[in-house]
């Protein structure tokens, strides 16, 4: 499945849905690829466009943002705002010569452990097809 490389995918997950769903996936002992690095946000509304660009800059091959189902955001509209930011960065990536498919926004609820595992598989497969973002692997600016 991994096309010869283990990709790095950063997953920005909302505390109230996707993060809980990831937890549930674990409790249910569901299998999904180990390529995901989860970062918990209090709400996807906290998502800053800079987080997305920095993730790619620091070596991620793919980034996903997962927020609550539309209409169910704990903070009313955080997920809708995050979605707009993700769309803007997708557009920017394309103009920078980077496949916009490397970034995706998902909606799910805290009860959807299986859906979380499926998203992880979906995204890992997608990134495997695209290959690493940098052929050399390491980001030339990443001195840390």
């Amino acid at each position: 499945m991994n096309n010869g490389f283990e990709s790095k995918i950063v997953a920005f997950c909302c505390h109230y849905c996707a993060f809980a769903a990831a937890d549930l996936a674990g409790v249910l002992r569901l299998k999904y690829p180990p390529d995901l690095r989860i970062i918990r946000l209090p709400c996807t509304g906290k998502l800053d466009t800079l987080f997305l660009l920095k993730a790619f800059e620091k070596g991620a091959d793919g980034v996903l943002v997962a927020g609550c189902l539309e209409g169910s955001c704990h903070f009313i509209s955080g997920n809708l705002r995050a979605k707009k930011r993700v769309l803007a960065v997708k557009n920017l990536l394309e103009r920078l010569g980077i496949e916009k498919e490397r970034l995706e926004f998902f909606n799910l609820s805290s009860a959807q452990g299986e859906r979380f595992a499926q998203i992880a598989r979906e995204m890992t497969e997608r990134i495997a097809k695209l290959g690493p973002l940098r052929s050399s692997g390491r980001c030339p600016y990443d001195r840390g």
Partner: protein, 225 residues
């Protein structure tokens, strides 16, 4: 405030193409407030440009900074030592900041923004032009609403015959007619009579940009005798 837009990223990449070491210098005043060139935007633009350049196989080293007010030398001075080490500076200030840096430092100073107008925040994410810097203000006659900047035809005795029944402008469909707004406002202030009984005199445009580049001198503030 001065309202500006970031140039399209394609144009910025083209402007930066010849350089490998560049300082991205933002300005923490107007352009930070209008979300075009503050510290935040410096970070975003630098990350975007690094990504694009790394991807295209022509990496670039970017230093990041933001002056409190790029249109004054004293706020740019602390960046002097960093600037000395660069091949160029990409300024995210308005055109004034770019001009100012170019005057002071002997390396290429490149603009990242298109400076647009003097505007106000309508609501987050939307800015509107409200003053055109004509140099001879008439807001005391027009209820604080500027027809030079806000009427599509810069009319001094409006509204024109084209104003729509719903009060929007003939030329700009989603724009309220400045003169309808002026009349409503003067009515509220009880000053409409004053406007109706006078005809606005022909404007002397020599104080506007039409009179060529402008300069302001305050003799009493000059330090030399």
């Amino acid at each position: 405030m001065i309202v500006a837009d970031q140039k399209p990223i394609e144009e910025i990449l083209e402007i930066l193409a010849p350089y490998k070491r560049v300082l991205f210098l933002g300005c923490q005043s107007c352009v930070a407030v209008c979300m075009a060139g503050g510290e935040k935007e410096v970070g975003l633009l630098a990350a975007a440009v690094r990504l694009a350049r790394a991807k295209s196989g022509a990496p670039i080293e970017i230093a990041e900074g933001a002056a409190k007010r790029q249109c004054d030398d004293e706020f740019n001075e602390p960046f002097g030592p960093v600037i000395q080490q660069q091949e160029a500076v990409l300024s995210l200030a308005c055109g004034v900041g770019v001009n100012k840096l170019a005057e002071r430092f002997a390396i290429p100073i490149l603009p990242a923004l298109n400076t647009r107008f003097f505007g106000k925040v309508e609501r987050q994410g939307i800015w509107k032009e409200v003053c055109a810097g004509c140099g001879d203000c008439i807001l005391h006659l027009t209820g604080g609403i500027c027809p030079i900047a806000r009427c599509a035809k810069n009319l001094l005795n409006g509204p024109c015959g084209g104003v729509r029944a719903d009060g929007t402008c003939e030329v700009k469909r989603d724009w309220p007619c400045a003169w309808v707004q002026i009349i409503q406002r003067l009515e509220e202030l009880g000053q409409l009579e004053r406007l109706l009984s006078t005809r606005m005199a022909a404007k002397d445009w020599s104080s506007d940009r039409h009179g060529g580049p402008r300069r302001r001198v305050r003799e009493d503030m000059l330090l030399e005798a």
